[in-house]
């Protein structure tokens, strides 16, 4: 029966074994090194992070009004609610000033097909660590000229600190954590 090289592969010599060792070693080195090196810094050593994030359902875009008798008559009997309010909500506008300079301004539209859902904002601001004067203005009513909520604070941020600016109506509006 013929002896075929494919069934009887050449025996590996010492050089091949050494080569295997080297290649296994290189493979291990590649994984060992790149699974933890180079070290990664998300922020520089003298920086801090401000996160502005909230969800807020804005005020209705218009006032409620009373329907006239004719308008009510046109409605099905089970839907004759005399007071009609717009479903659409106002976009929420927020502005952050840092040390007297506006660093962030966002207009968050209401979510949902009927634009009656909450507006949501999530923003990150990388700032130098240290003492800062922060002013936050938030408006949730397109009918109002001035911001409905404001918060001014002097904060000291240590390197690597995260300051969260949120909104909680139960706590009086804009919160800093």
């Amino acid at each position: 029966m013929p002896d075929t090289p494919a069934r009887n592969p050449t025996r590996l010599g010492p050089r091949a074994w050494l080569g295997q060792l080297l290649l296994y070693g290189l493979f291990a080195l590649t994984i060992g090194v790149f699974s933890q090196w180079p070290h990664y810094r998300h922020l520089q050593a003298d920086e801090a992070l401000i996160k502005l994030s909230f969800t807020r359902v804005g005020k209705p875009v218009g006032d409620c009004r009373m329907l006239s008798a004719e308008e009510l008559a046109r409605l099905p009997p089970n839907m004759r609610e005399p007071k009609s309010c717009p479903r659409e909500r106002s976009p929420v506008t927020v502005q952050v000033d840092l040390d007297g300079r506006t660093v962030l301004q966002r207009v968050a539209p209401p979510t949902g097909i009927a634009k009656d859902g909450a507006a949501a904002v999530y923003e990150r601001l990388v700032v130098p660590a240290g003492v800062h004067q922060i002013a936050v203005r938030l408006s949730d009513d397109v009918r109002a000229r001035d911001a409905a909520y404001r918060r001014d604070a002097r904060v000291t941020l240590v390197p690597g600190q995260v300051l969260v600016i949120d909104f909680d109506a139960a706590k009086g509006g804009i919160t800093l954590q």
Partner: protein, 520 residues
């Protein structure tokens, strides 16, 4: 005829083969890891699954207890905890590397199209599952690296207009991450690999004898390498997660988490665009203009005796056995699924009816390739040997995808390039010798390097008498030379030929004049 790659793919393939050659020199072709990338990926998955099950037993699935329970692992005696954790992490790295190289290799070899379209399209989504599984694993440790990865992932996902409220709001302040959310992390880390396993089943469904583990020596070598790495460079946790602070210096696993720094350096939208474009390209590759598919195998019911050898040997499960139309009880007939057929001809080489010794003028076999029938091969062989002017004519049976047969230009050699070496019915070797050839050279691709997966293995086993149809024992071994010569191995082909030539010079010119007379 096989269409060679062009342009970028050609250069890439040349470079790949050069690297493969380096690994061949060290591992031998049978154990070359670059030819077992899919199986290595599977092995990494099994390692992850088994180590993950053990880790899950000792793991505290609460947000406050997770970090502590992982830390306690490192205190297990004999470095068992370090070993377990290291194997789990480094196997994930191996899985990503093996997957990336597997993808690259298959693309370079033009395997994104034709009958392999199914394998390609079922393989691409697995890349996503690999990364979802891997990234989710960092979160459940809930150290600073997990914190960074979880927040970075949430911020990246928030760039897609999917949710009304940003996901990243779940990580705003201390205490925001509840046990309930943490259970979701665990669910993702277990659920995604389970889905991946399901996807893997699809991926290899149309492959017979799919390798879900590399050959044992290679598997042991890889396992030992990872074990040494796990003990020499143990995986350590960062400090526990603190949402009030940004993690400082992170020992990032760049192989698994590179996407986060990429988002930081560019923007979430940019990375989504890159991911989307990459996925679209990968999914589109099988549908780009491509060469026509080769003709598929054809069954002749009158010559198929239902022996199932083609069914067993087909590498792509393209053959099924159906009741024979002659309606004899128990008789079956091979049936070819044209969508699955690779057009390799391995089935024709397996068919016992392919023997050229049959006395019919027109050799019709049970299953054959229209582009190169066994009848054509027999005719050409007869003509070549009978018209040879040399005292000791040699016959070469090679492969379209291996070393170029046309590179041998000596006048005493008649080359036959087959669709695959596996297309050669072993009886053709004996037939050539009886027809007057002084020696026969069979060239198969390197082990594990067959374009059609199993051709080189079946050829070797058939010629060694270990597989049906086998080469008869009476064939003089000195007159047969089998060389392993893949693409680019023309020098090995020439060396093998010279070896055969030297050997037959010492033998009588005619292998067996009596048999030859009888045969004529």
């Amino acid at each position: 005829m096989h269409t060679p790659p062009t342009g970028l793919r050609q250069h890439g393939l040349t470079a790949w083969r050069a690297v493969e050659g380096v690994f061949d020199a060290a591992f031998g072709s049978r154990l070359n890891p670059l030819r077992h990338l899919g199986a290595i990926g599977f092995m990494a998955f099994w390692l992850l699954a088994t180590s993950g099950v053990v880790l899950f037993i000792v793991f505290d699935t609460s947000v406050t207890g997770a970090w502590r329970s992982i830390e306690e692992l490192s205190r297990l005696p004999f470095g068992l905890g370090r070993l377990l954790r290291g194997l789990h992490r480094y196997a994930a790295d191996v899985l990503v590397i093996a997957t990336a190289l597997h993808l690259l290799r298959e693309w370079l070899h033009g395997h994104a199209r034709g009958f392999r379209r199914f394998h390609w399209l079922t393989g691409v989504p697995l890349i996503g599952f690999v990364f979802v599984s891997a990234i989710g694993g960092f979160w459940i440790n809930w150290d600073q690296l997990g914190q960074y990865s979880a927040i970075a992932t949430a911020e990246w996902l928030d760039a897609l207009p999917l949710l009304a409220a940003p996901l990243a709001r779940n990580f705003l302040v201390e205490g925001a991450v509840s046990d309930r959310l943490f259970s979701l992390f665990v669910f993702v880390h277990i659920g995604a690999p389970l889905l991946m396993l399901f996807g893997l089943w699809f991926h290899i469904q149309r492959i017979t004898r799919a390798a879900v583990l590399p050959p044992r020596p290679l598997a042991l070598g890889l396992l030992a390498t990872l074990a040494v790495l796990a003990l020499a460079s143990p995986v350590a946790s960062h400090a526990p997660a603190t949402l009030a602070r940004v993690p400082e210096q992170l020992r990032l696993d760049w192989i698994l988490l590179f996407v986060h720094p990429l988002v930081d350096a560019t923007s979430p939208a940019f990375v989504w665009a890159v991911v989307g474009a990459g996925a679209a390209l990968l999914f589109a590759l099988p549908f780009l203009p491509q060469p026509a598919r080769p003709a598929v195998a054809v069954v002749d019911a009158d010559n198929c005796n239902g022996c199932k050898r083609c069914f067993v040997d087909c590498p792509y499960a393209a053959i099924t056995m159906v009741p024979h139309p002659n309606q004899r009880i128990g008789r079956t007939l091979a049936q070819v699924d044209g969508n699955l057929c690779a057009g390799c001809g391995i089935c024709a080489g397996a068919c016992p009816s392919s023997t050229p010794f049959r006395s019919t003028a027109q050799l019709v076999t049970g299953i054959d390739m229209p582009q190169l029938t066994v009848n054509t091969l027999r005719q050409r062989l007869q003509e070549a040997v009978s018209t040879s002017q040399t005292a000791r004519p040699l016959v070469l049976f090679g492969c379209d995808h291996g070393a170029r047969c046309s590179s041998l230009t000596a006048s005493d050699v008649t080359p036959f390039s087959l669709l695959c070496a596996g297309q050669l019915p072993p009886s053709f070797v004996e037939y050539a010798l009886r027809d007057g050839a002084a020696g026969v050279l069979v060239a198969a691709c390197r082990e594990g390097g067959c374009e059609f997966r199993l051709g080189e293995r079946w050829t070797a086993e058939r010629l060694a008498g270990e597989r049906e149809p086998h080469l008869r024992a009476g064939v003089a071994a000195q007159r047969l030379e089998v060389v392993v010569a893949g693409p680019g191995d023309e020098d090995q082909l020439a060396t093998g030929l010279e070896r055969l030539r030297q050997r037959v010079q010492t033998l009588a010119p005619d292998p067996d004049p009596v048999l030859r007379l009888h045969h004529a």
